[in-house]
């Protein structure tokens, strides 16, 4: 830990930043959304604050906990660090795009069936990681699920329920339904 005298702020940089808002066009859960944002804005702030999507949760801001995970072009990505500018033209999917309260994705259905949470704060990110896993591997073993979730933290100790729910979702998953939703149905 280093608590030295800080360097003076580069005010020119602040002002430069000040002027660098851009218009970003994003495809989120199948819909084109236009937002104004600084290009380096982490995607999570755009999703939560500008598009009102609560699914991605802020946990650490440093890719350690996985609560913020969404899909970018079908692959799990930490929305707390990826700059919004780099996601233009890509398919972004959040847990809202996976399924809705009235039309649940098999993973969401299985999470309810197994009460696969205590506080549930980590669940959205884990469901997204699991969706990508099931797409790549429709019948994962316990170990494969554990490895797929190694970037996700759960503090309540609901791990085994979560693993069971993902195994159950693999059974529920209809063969024709892709595990990840690049079809988009927001």
């Amino acid at each position: 830990m280093n608590w030295k005298e800080p360097a003076r702020i580069d005010h020119a940089w602040l002002t430069r930043y000040d002027r660098s808002m851009i218009r970003v066009s994003l495809k989120v859960n199948g819909m084109i959304r236009q937002v104004e944002a600084a290009p380096e804005t982490p995607l999570i702030f755009v999703l939560r604050d500008k598009l009102n999507l609560n699914g991605p949760r802020y946990g650490c801001g440093s890719e350690h906990c996985g609560a913020c995970v969404v899909h970018i072009d079908g692959n799990p990505a930490f929305s707390c660090t990826v700059p919004v500018e780099t996601t233009q033209g890509k398919e972004i999917t959040t847990v809202e795009g996976l399924g809705t309260a009235s039309q649940l994705h098999p993973l969401q259905q299985a999470f309810l069936e197994f009460n696969a949470a205590q506080c549930g704060y980590c669940a959205s990110g884990i469901i997204m990681a699991a969706a990508a896993l099931l797409k790549a591997n429709p019948t994962p073993s316990r170990t494969e699920i554990q490895v797929a979730l190694k970037n996700h933290l759960c503090r309540c100790g609901a791990h085994n329920r979560i693993i069971s729910a993902i195994s159950r979702a693999a059974e529920l998953m209809p063969a024709q339904l892709p595990a990840s939703t690049d079809h988009g149905n927001a």
């Binding site: 600084a38 802020y58 946990g59 801001g61 009460n115 704060y121 490895v147 190694k150 309540c156 100790g157």
Partner: protein
Amino acid sequence: MPLPAALEQNPLLSNWVAFEGDDIIVRTGKVELGQGIMTAIAIIAAEELSVPVTRITVRTGSTSAGPNEFITAGSMSIEGSGSAVRQACAEVRSYLLGLAAGTFGVEPGELTIEEGIIKHPATNETASFAELMDGQSLNIAATGDAVPVPVESYKLVGKTATRVDLLAKITGGTAYVQDLAEADTLHARIVRPPSMAYTLSTLNEIDKSGIEQMQGVLSVIVDGNFVAVLAEDEYTASLAKFKLQQAILWKPSPEKRLPVDIHEYLEKNAAVSLLVEQGTPIESTIPPRRTHGETLKATYRKPYHMHGSIGPSAATARWQGNKLYVRSHSQGPYLIRGALAAALAMPPEDIVVEHAENAGCYGHNGADDAAMDAAMVARTVPGKTVMLKWEREDEHAWEPYSPAMVMRMEASLENGKITHWNADIYSQSHSGRPIPHRSVSNLIAAWHKSNPMKRAQARPGMGNHSGIHRNADPIYDFPDRRIIKHLVTDQRVRTSSTRGLGAFGNVFAIESFMDELAHAASVDPVEFRLSHLSDPRAIKVINTAWQAASDRQPSSSDGWRHGRGLAFAQYKNRQTHAAVVVDLWVNETTLEIKLDHGIIAADSGQIIDRDGLANQLEGGLIQASSWTLKEAVQFDEFATTSRDWESYPILRFDEVPTVDVHLLDHPELPSVGAGEATQGPTPAAISNAVFNAVGVRLRQIPFTSDALRTAALAEEEAT
């Protein structure tokens, strides 16, 4: 019949139950922390009102509506709120039957009640709850006359229900305090020093105004050592915070330098020592240790631990005239209201605190501090709602930690039985919650603001099984025991309540020491425990867990040695009895400890929500495994260096054991709290299993491979 305490204190039935159209609203003063209390309350209410669980909407702690139930802690919600809701709903049921009987001109006894409809079978006349209430509120007091549904008629209680709060959490619904921002909500971030040892030295005016001029930034608030930034949107607030952290210089006070060895410090700096009798501290001279014949000594230690909520603390606040509105994930809406009122010098009646969930807290984390932070910032923009979110580092560095502990044990054996038991327990305070006091405070912003408030002095908890001495007094039948708790009042490291409080350290020590004594007496450790127990429920959970373990053939793998250990406790000697068995492996080369499987047998009296209960017990085992194997807060001279999940690792998915839970239901007995019951037995079961695997005794948490190597070398040297 006497009313349950919470109903006695909040007797008006409208505090507990309301009908809004077809919805039945049930209010509890307890709050959802991820422990599933809303679901358990819904089950109890649905049972009494003869409706499906889905018809019940549970609303949790608020100072504007519903009962005041002080705090959600100590695994007391089912016992406290559950029994009150049961009686309140029984009274409502009886009241509704009375109304229907009057309407139909019949006797209440002739009526049936099903799915929210009261029926007179003889005439087929029916009326719904909503029709009978006709928009009126339940402005009547509980009498205690209504008789709850008899246990043998239960249709819902004791079964498994789907969590009522889960759907929103997994479909992106509004579920947490962080989700409450609206379009015109302003966003704030807090800028804290590295630790409490530091005060503000310089914030250059040029830097401050430069940041204030950033597009989207509204203001930089500097009030003594309290520094925050307010912005139009969250990203701008976080960016401005980053810039402020670069610009600010904080200076440490040399007298706040931290002790190098906290355990040595604890043993040498006790301010108060108290004899603990029957689980309660008493004013008395401290007797010398008593031993006789063959005597064993061992010292156990735990480090500072974090609550480690996955969601950092947050709150919203809005000032409207003289009134303050707060949404907070505090465990005690009334408690934080009182503390806010004191710190902000205003009457508590002018503050409304409404609970909103955050990630699991497992005790007193940054929730209350964030509420005060938000109130401080919102005061600068009256009429505006301010959402203030801590970042990961704020939570890691500023949440109050679970205190380090030292447990010095000494016991004598005669004919395979313990004759004398001595324990000296050293720790800092396990209680640093907000208090409604005008001159001292437990809130960070109150210490940091100009005209700062002093920190409340640490005082010894004098309650039965409170704080340091929770579960210090074993329920074993020892002829002679001498248990002393030693409070260290030093507050350079901030500490407060964490799941289990002293029970984690005390049961770790007791149940590891029981194993050591059993080996010294050449008695099987399970037999040894049973021979010191007369409580049949204790005996039953131990036998159940051990039998389940005996039925299990652990897998084997080359280069790994298997070990099995058992530990047991009854939480606070009056709540859930829980026995834990752990199967693990120790790597012969790397000395890595890998958990394989956990078995829990538990008796919580009457089961309300079967799956919810299992969830709490197994979650406790996994969380306590993480504390035991991996966790210790690290410090430099003045501050914690554990500022993210890399510098404070916790158990990950590829490290968790499978867990089986065996529940012993007693519908005829009251429900007792279970949420903290496996915290204590787990570390001891792991320590005992490691000893079983490799013959080395681990007495200091965390059990890293380095710790095991050090312990093995020390034992080699000693022999």
